[in-house]
Symmetry: C2
Subunit: 101 residues, 2 copies
DNA sequence: AATTACTATATTGCAATACATAATAGTATG
DNA sequence: CATACTATTATGTATTGCAATATAGTAATT
């Protein structure tokens, strides 16, 4: 899969998984990679980024099947960002679509 | 406009403009930037890349309104590449779409 | 029981790629 | 001379890929 296509969209995919419920990193890795080829390293970098940007907050919770899980929670700022970026993405698709028609 | 969204798609947009006729760089810059925000520098880098990759050939032709124009011609290899990448792009959109729904 | 191996989970460093920005330069025309 | 047309290149930045590391449980093997 063309690596470049994912640039900028991957973080939206991640944020979008957090709309309804908090999830932990490993879980997100599995979820996303069901559709797109993504390695854990890439995912965790994205998680770090969206946390640094204030789009998510995190908290630890023990697991009964391994190390503690770090859960990610979408903030109001993250929700706003996601909404606006999704709109921009659709707008981009429309314009690019014209050039690719 | 989110800079990252364009990664990997811009060169397809350029190649796609060459399907029916040869075009020169400045012309392509104008064409593409009607839809997407792109500067000449970026466009010329892409043109250099797709030429190095053998997707286009070039030739000079004088203009009656300025310096000579460098025309870009899509090769058979470029046509193949474009077709495959467009298919991959659509496939990517479908998968990303699921994650963004 | 002790050792080993494997799964679940998180993190980090370095390399590669593509776009942005800005500067340069040459030709023709008003 | 100023401006529009045309092409090129250098430097910076952001995002992903790949690979390695680390830790805690669980299962398997000796």
């Amino acid at each position: 899969m063309n690596t470049q296509f994912k640039k900028g969209v991957l973080d939206l995919c991640v944020l979008n998984q957090l709309i309804r419920e908090d999830r932990y990193g490993y879980e997100l890795t599995e979820l996303i990679s069901r559709e797109l080829e993504v390695t854990a390293g890439t995912l965790y970098l994205i998680l770090k980024r969206i946390k640094d940007d204030g789009y998510v907050t995190t908290y630890l919770r023990e697991s009964d099947s391994g190390p503690a899980r770090k859960y990610y929670h979408l903030t109001e700022k993250g929700r706003d960002y996601l909404q606006k970026q999704k709109a921009e993405w659709l707008e981009f698709l429309e314009k690019a679509g014209k050039l690719l028609a």
